[in-house]
């Protein structure tokens, strides 16, 4: 899949997944790479940026095994942003779907 395309959609997916449940990086990476083929390493820069823009906050939590884990949780601002993106996405994908349907009917 096209790289820019994926980057944009990935941001939306990350916001949605973390809004559903606080997650740590590894967990999030697994959840996403189960469905979308992605270089997991690029998720961390994305998480950093979204955190810097106050869409996420982070906290460390001990786990029963292994090191403490850095959890990401969504802020109110992040929720707002996600809603905007979802609206954008719906509008956009509707338009594209229409184009596709019209295009395929003509052929």
């Amino acid at each position: 899949m096209n790289v820019q395309f994926k980057k944009g959609v990935l941001e939306l997916c990350v916001l949605i997944l973390i809004s559903k449940k606080d997650q740590y990086g590894y967990e999030l990476a697994q959840n996403i790479s189960n469905k979308i083929e992605v270089a997991e390493g690029t998720l961390y820069p994305l998480l950093r940026r979204l955190t810097k823009e106050d869409y996420f906050t982070t906290y460390l939590a001990e786990s029963t095994e292994g090191p403490p884990r850095k959890y990401y949780s969504i802020t109110d601002k992040g929720n707002e942003y996600m809603k905007d993106l979802v609206d954008d996405w719906k509008q956009f994908s509707n338009a594209v779907n229409q184009f596709i349907e019209e295009g395929l009917h003509h052929e």
């Binding site: 790289v3 944009g8 941001e11 939306l12 790479s33 270089a39 390493g41 292994g66 090191p67």
Partner: protein, 254 residues
């Protein structure tokens, strides 16, 4: 905890101050530790994480953009503070030559050189990652989020496909065919020469000669005209390409 991937990433981030770098690397150390605890091998994890170059580029781009924003903000604040004083001191200050005009002139100057780079930027969204030593200019969006520029990019793509490609193809096809006509006209004496060799139309040689002379001069004039038209077409194309790129990147455009 130290493996090839982490070492590589650390080297690539060597320009970042120690504390920020530790923070960036921590995410990956944690990733490896949890992954290993879940029974994956270092090789598997490294393969899943992807290219350290790409990761370092993303991290550095955001890092730089963050710093730029800070600088810009303070500049704006200073401007706000300075402006009232300026207005007091020089109420009838001449409007400065608009920055945009100056910029656009500079742009047309080296447009040709830039076009290639712009095309590369348009059609190759994932450039080959460069080693961080030769710090490439920040490619990342200056004004928009990744999602924002993605939306703008896709919308532009649709718009271009539907409204621009057809007419543009028509114009270029017309241009090419007129060029071909000009070339054929210019070369028409060859037809005359070859036909006289073959023994045709000796009786109307004078007429043919003058017709081909007229056609040649017409063809040459058309050719010269087409050179100018071509230049404008090229400029238009370059300008339009640049406009698209600027819209996708956001900011700066206005």
């Amino acid at each position: 905890m130290n493996n090839e991937f982490l070492k590589r990433l650390e080297t690539l981030l060597s320009k970042v101050p120690e504390s920020d770098r530790r923070e960036m690397l921590y995410d990956y150390e944690e990733h490896f530790q949890i992954g290993l605890a879940n029974g994956k091998s270092v090789e598997e994890l490294t393969a899943e994480l992807g290219d350290p170059y790409v990761i370092a580029r993303d991290l550095l781009a955001d890092y730089r953009v963050g710093k730029d924003e800070v600088v810009q903000q303070t500049e704006e604040q200073v401007q706000e503070q300075v402006q009232p004083f300026q207005e007091q001191i020089q109420p009838e200050q001449q409007p400065q030559p608009s920055q945009q005009e100056v910029n656009s002139k500079e742009l047309t100057m080296d447009e040709k050189a830039e076009l290639a780079a712009l095309k590369a930027a348009l059609y190759k969204p994932a450039p080959i990652p460069t080693p961080m030593g030769t710090s490439e200019p920040t490619r990342s969006t200056s004004g928009r989020s990744a999602f924002g520029s993605f939306m703008v990019g896709m919308s532009l793509l649709l718009f271009n496909l539907i409204f621009i490609v057809g007419p543009a193809a028509g114009i270029f096809a017309a241009y090419i065919s007129i060029c071909a006509v000009a070339l054929v006209f210019t070369l028409s004496p060859l037809v005359l020469i070859s036909s006289s060799f073959l023994g045709f139309s000796h009786e109307s040689l004078a007429v043919n000669f003058f017709v081909s002379l007229a056609l040649t001069s017409l063809g040459m004039l058309m050719g010269i005209g087409m050179m100018y038209v071509g230049k404008y077409l090229f400029k238009g194309l370059a300008g339009y390409t640049k406009l698209n790129v600027r819209m996708v990147r956001g900011g700066r455009a206005a």
